[in-house]
Symmetry: C2
Subunit: 152 residues, 2 copies
Amino acid sequence: MNDIQRYVTEPPLEARAFFSLVDATARLIGFSEKYWSSKGLNGARIRLLVEIAKAGGTILPSDLAARIGVTRANISVLLVPLEEMGYLTSSGHPEDGRKRIIVLAPEGERLLWDVLPGNRSVIASRMEGLNDEEKVQLLTLLGKLQKGTATP
Amino acid sequence: MNDIQRYVTEPPLEARAFFSLVDATARLIGFSEKYWSSKGLNGARIRLLVEIAKAGGTILPSDLAARIGVTRANISVLLVPLEEMGYLTSSGHPEDGRKRIIVLAPEGERLLWDVLPGNRSVIASRMEGLNDEEKVQLLTLLGKLQKGTATP
DNA sequence: GAAATATAGTTAAACATTTAACTAATAAGT
DNA sequence: ACTTATTAGTTAAATGTTTAACTATATTTC
């Protein structure tokens, strides 16, 4: 067992917590994505529709980018197929010619009602290792962690 | 506030825990990647070198893929530049002609000594929202979560 | 009110990763 | 032993995302 091997196999508490977060999260995301692809969908597109719904059914692309945490360029390309599939509509902003107004179409809302409950079931079943009290503890800890990582 | 908006903005406990995990982890990964790119590196390549070190300095590509959790195809393409940069060497397996033996080069070990401590500092500073006891709690909860998500 | 600056959105190129198809080598079944 | 199946690794195509360059519109500044 040489020095570098020991160094990387015996990380300090912070690094172990970080690696564990990354592993657990990647695994859960994997299960979620498997569900989406079983429905012929993917997480990015659903997340976008969910975010429009969260905003009350109407939103600007740049808002979507900020809320989801991806670039505006990415939102641009995500919107195209979603509009083609009839899940949303878009139109110019009446007062500011630079903006586009994105609206969740009835078909998009129907899709969300169709697939979100199943996804929540998948997630819930994959979190059965924790009871409710522990899930609350986890949420509390992650909340504290977030405060420490507020972008400086 | 319509029905779908309420549905997506008031998720159950499991979903809230999941979303919080995804958010917190993505943010931490972002800080880590920012560090790597400030060094002209990226997380995927470093992770690969770390995994060779963990294994004691010698490993097979397929082992790397399994441990890191990416495809063998991805390992194949990651190895090329790392070998070109002199961070590792590769050679054929003497007994099994299908295999390749990957060895961490001295230059690769030097790189790890150079950059890992800084990365650990970045991570630690971003986890200051939690004290040590809370980090241990987090690790415990994530451990329980993992047991529940062992691939079926 | 003209010029400079900033913002919203799009497009194309670059990059990372996965999937699928392939080659070569070994192991297993008969 | 020979044939079939499995395994290790590579390559190319497809997918998803970011970065950078660009267009068009608004806003600010002088």
